[in-house]
């Protein structure tokens, strides 16, 4: 549901930066989205289509989304694990419950590509 406002923010950031760098045509936008974030890549892509269709600058732009796996690290045994499915913050190694999330909550605009004037 909030993907629309998030995508608007992405386009604003790209537009602003492109202006500063004399770029008038965007070819590619790259986002990194962690699997624990409450943002759906499909929904982001849909919102991107809807928002970019009427804007000359984004006419040929492609949205690429890199999804990041969920990784946790145990504070006791210091092992790192990738969580395949679901959300279990118990260390699979030693059973400790003092684990921290080291990846999976990412939500950022990594880079974009464009043509300059």
């Amino acid at each position: 549901m909030h993907e629309l406002s998030i995508m608007e923010g992405v386009l604003n950031m790209v537009r602003e930066s492109a202006e500063q760098n004399n770029i008038n045509k965007i070819n590619e936008i790259n986002l990194v989205i962690g699997k624990l974030s409450m943002v759906l890549p499909d929904s982001l892509s849909f919102c991107f289509q809807a928002l970019s269709v009427h804007e000359e600058m984004f006419q040929n732009a492609v949205l690429k989304i890199e999804e990041r796996d969920t990784m946790i690290q145990c504070a006791i045994c210091e092992q790192q694990f990738t969580l395949e499915d679901g959300w279990c913050l118990v260390c699979p190694g030693c059973g400790g419950s003092n684990v921290s999330i080291i990846s999976g909550r990412e939500m950022y605009l990594d880079y974009y590509e464009g043509d300059d004037n």
Binding site: G9, A18, L36, W87, C88, Y111
Partner: protein, 219 residues
């Protein structure tokens, strides 16, 4: 072809405003609670009960988030508490900008605590920091056990979980054991209160805990 590296947080604008709110709250030594849940879990009823229990012991304000109506704000106002309504006009969550503006309108004299009642939704509000001290999430026995595993992020981030409608427990399939088991995996350090907004059961324990938290702000 040029490549421009950005590494910009998609919620950067919100996080900046949340930091601003947090320092404004800290300046007045306010305890600020972001109250979240799905629609119908009983957030407003718990808030009404909490206000009754706090009457005469604490000055508080409420920032009330709703999509369209001010029905909840009217309910709170009837309890004699300062309340500012935010209508998100269809947006699924409160953001730090909306809360900052509402806070400026709140007649601040001698308020020690603010409840922010978020829009009823277990998904989107979880991503938006409002500048609060902590998040309290309400879940009710009638919603079923699966809410924790379906919406783990919001429960993971909560410092307090209020299990509401505890009076209805015998009439539901809700399992307290399963609830505790799931919570041990998602958020083992959460403080849990079993309450009933309807009967008032357990509200006193939650309020005593809350008053201790306010005291920590004003030693």
């Amino acid at each position: 072809m040029v490549q421009i590296n950005m590494e910009s947080n998609l919620l950067g604008a919100n996080e900046l405003l949340a930091r601003r709110n947090r320092s404004a709250f800290a300046e007045q030594r306010l305890l600020v609670i972001n109250l979240m849940s799905s629609p119908g879990s009983g957030k407003t009823t718990i808030l009404e009960r909490s206000i009754e229990f706090l009457a005469g012991r604490l000055q508080m304000g409420v920032i009330e988030g709703d999509l369209y109506t001010d029905q909840d704000a009217q309910r709170i106002e009837k309890k004699g508490v300062q309340v500012i309504q935010i209508n998100t006009e269809g947006a699924c969550h409160l953001d730090a900008g909306m809360v900052g503006k509402a806070f400026e309108q709140l007649p601040s004299a001698a308020v020690e605590m603010i409840f922010i009642e978020n829009v009823g939704n277990l998904v989107c509000p979880a991503e938006f920091d409002l500048g609060e001290d902590f998040r309290a999430v309400v879940i009710s026995t009638t919603e079923g056990n699966d809410k924790l595993s379906k919406y783990p992020l919001i429960f993971h981030q909560a410092r307090v979980i209020l299990l509401n409608k505890i009076d209805l427990l015998p009439f539901t399939d809700f399992s307290l054991d399963k609830f505790k088991e799931d919570l041990a995996q998602i958020n083992p350090s959460a403080t849990v209160f079993l309450v009933s907004g309807r009967t008032g059961e357990g509200i006193d324990i939650w309020i005593e805990w809350l008053l201790e938290e306010v005291k920590k702000k004003r030693p």
